[in-house]
């Protein structure tokens, strides 16, 4: 009965491997991925197959009923996030196995942290109650902080410390919100809260605390200050994991809680305010990305900008018609998945370019197009998705959001989508302008190992492919949601 085991396996296995990898010698730690990756891929595919065949369901862990036991939700959204995590994290792990050979000291602790991070993320995607979301958030957050600190340079330690302080503040605000909600409604489960929710002062305060805490963890402008040093300064595979997946964890929680409590309980201006902050993030992040001289800092600021698009979800889904809300849901999730794939590809290929020229400065990329076309090609493909050019996932996502904005008569979000795309084009082409400039005629660049180029290319291609075949994943993601499967 593999079906019954695949759900708990998704977080029990990474947890077990995390502990196991601490027990074996450092040389053996990377090899555990040859056990973990196939099993996790199998479990993810099995969960998807069961979702498609048998429909969404609630899984009772160990057969215990809530509140004594823990309920896991296996709906389209959760399964979509699980598959995204499996794909991105597997490729990052394969990349890291080769990349970290140059960093033996960091490598020995990277592997346990990777498994813990994975367990935390899968725990978040599956959690049905707001307290287990908190636990997942903490497991993921602490592992992420450890990963940022891996490099152990003063800059990396300062970035890790800043990240940790932001994360701790965010999770305490969230926890206090959970405490207030439990005191008011006597339940922690999403379904229970949805039934009981009523607009009163306690709920407003609780929701404000939860939203603020999660905004800080998602690094939405203007609470983004911790993100660029942490994401831009970490080791390349760590940057990719953090930017592609970890920030999505807190956004996912926000999205779920909003759909349960938001529309009934919050005043309409909250949703508009979140949208405005998102717009601010798109403009500020894009502008700052364009001004960077350091390649990975540019990519990190691009994450600040791309987070902004996701927050257009709230004004487009709150108080609008069912069709506009469905388009907003589809568009936001397409943006989320496309960004995860494209940003991982962008960080990995940026890491390859940095390896090739031996410098982190964008100005040192002069002439690289002649010698390292494959690394640059992955960077470009991922860039196409971030700019939102057809036929990429980024284009499909923006197109759906655009339709939703027109349907709900909120034309001002069109400006954000349009100018944001232009700004992304500006910073992506800034890298290209340098790379295509004629430089030295002799190849002085170092050839990165093939695995590094291939993993980046697969992720970049996936970010384009998801746009071409958007229909099917969007159908799966809608299973079990309020937006139906129609």
């Amino acid at each position: 009965m593999i079906g019954l085991w695949s759900v708990p396996l998704l977080f029990a296995l990474p947890l077990a491997l995390g502990i196991l990898s601490l027990l074996v010698t450092p040389a053996w730690r990377p090899r555990l991925i040859f056990v973990g990756l196939p099993l996790l891929t199998l479990a993810s595919v099995d969960v998807l197959a069961r979702l498609v065949l048998e429909g969404p369901r609630i899984y009772e862990l160990g057969g215990w009923e809530a509140p004594l036991g823990i309920n896991l939700v296996v709906d389209g959204l959760a399964v979509g996030m699980i598959l995204m995590t499996t794909l991105v994290a597997s490729l990052c792990a394969l990349y890291a196995r080769v990349y970290l050979r140059d960093y033996p000291a960091s490598s020995s602790f990277f592997w346990p942290l990777l498994w813990l991070l994975w367990a935390g993320m899968n725990g978040i995607w599956l959690a049905e109650d707001i307290f287990n979301l908190y636990v997942g958030l903490e497991v993921m957050g602490l592992a992420a902080v450890g990963m940022v600190a891996l490099r152990a340079t003063p800059q990396a330690l300062a970035a890790a410390m800043r990240y940790l302080l932001a994360a701790l503040l965010g999770s305490l605000a969230y926890l206090l919100g959970v405490a207030l909600l439990y005191a008011t409604y006597g339940t922690l489960s999403m379904a229970g809260l949805q039934e009981a929710a009523a607009p009163n002062a306690t709920t407003h305060v609780a929701l404000a605390l939860i939203i603020l805490g999660l905004l800080l963890k998602t690094a939405l402008f203007p609470l983004h200050a911790w993100l660029p040093p942490a994401h831009g300064g970490a080791l390349t595979p760590v940057s990719a994991l953090l930017s592609a997946l970890v920030i999505k964890g807190s956004f996912y929680i926000l999205m779920r809680i909003w759909l349960v409590l938001g529309p009934e309980v919050t005043p309409i201006f909250t949703a508009q305010l979140l949208g405005v902050l998102g717009a601010g993030a798109v403009f500020y992040g894009g502008w700052m990305a364009w001004r960077q001289h350091h390649l990975k800092q540019l990519v990190a600021y691009s994450t600040v900008a791309q987070i902004g698009y996701l927050f257009l979800f709230f004004p487009l889904v709150t108080g609008t018609g069912p069709e506009a809300a469905r388009l907003a849901w589809d568009g936001t999730l397409m943006m989320l998945v496309a960004h995860a794939l494209a940003k991982a590809a962008l960080f990995l290929s940026a890491g390859n370019l940095i390896l090739a020229v031996g410098s982190t400065q964008i100005s040192h990329l002069v002439g690289i197009s002649r010698f390292r076309p494959m690394s640059l090609f992955s960077f470009g493909l991922a860039g196409v998705s971030l700019m939102g050019l057809p036929p990429s996932g980024g284009f499909t996502g923006k197109w759906l959001l655009l339709h939703s904005a027109i349907l709900s008569d909120q034309w001002w979000w069109l400006i954000v989508l349009f100018l944001g795309g232009l700004l992304s084009a500006a910073y992506i082409f800034k890298v290209f302008r340098m790379s295509f400039r004629e430089g030295p005629q002799i190849d002085r660049s170092i050839t990165p190992p093939l695995t590094l180029d291939v993993t980046a290319l697969i992720l970049a291609s996936a970010s384009i492919l998801i746009g071409l075949t958007a229909h099917l994943p969007l159908f799966w993601l809608r299973l079990g949601s309020a937006f139906g499967a129609g």
């Binding site: 509140p67 307290f131 636990v135 903490e138 602490l142 902080v145 450890g146 600190a149 152990a152 340079t153 003063p154 330690l157 300062a158 890790a160 410390m161 800043r162 940790l164 302080l165 701790l168 503040l169 999770s171 305490l172 926890l175 206090l176 959970v178 405490a179 207030l180 439990y182 005191a183 006597g186 922690l188 200050a225």
Partner: protein, 98 residues
């Protein structure tokens, strides 16, 4: 004011006090202590409010125990990062934002 609400309000007070310390201080150890005070405040709210008129409820206790474990783990991690940072830079605070 019932007994339970006394606990809850003390919790809110502690949380606010901790938040003030967390923002006002620059020394990382002080900020870490402030974080722990905030944590204790939210645990007090959890336990205090849940007792209000509903008799004994085991769920908040389970949550607080989990919360304490999380807080201890976070504090330990923060101390390790802080020690490494202090050894590497000789500073007890973070450099100003660039």
């Amino acid at each position: 004011m019932s007994g339970a609400l006394v606990f809850a309000w003390s919790g809110v007070l502690l949380f606010g006090l901790g938040l003030f310390g967390f923002i006002a201080h620059r020394h990382l150890l002080r900020r870490l202590l402030a974080f722990n005070i905030m944590g204790s405040g939210s645990f007090l709210v959890l336990v205090g409010l849940a007792q209000d008129g509903r008799g004994v409820d085991p769920v908040p206790h389970a949550m607080v125990i989990t919360g304490i474990v999380v807080a201890v783990a976070s504090t330990a991690l923060a101390l390790v990062v802080f020690r490494r940072w202090y050894r590497a830079s000789g500073r007890t605070d973070l450099p100003e934002d660039t």
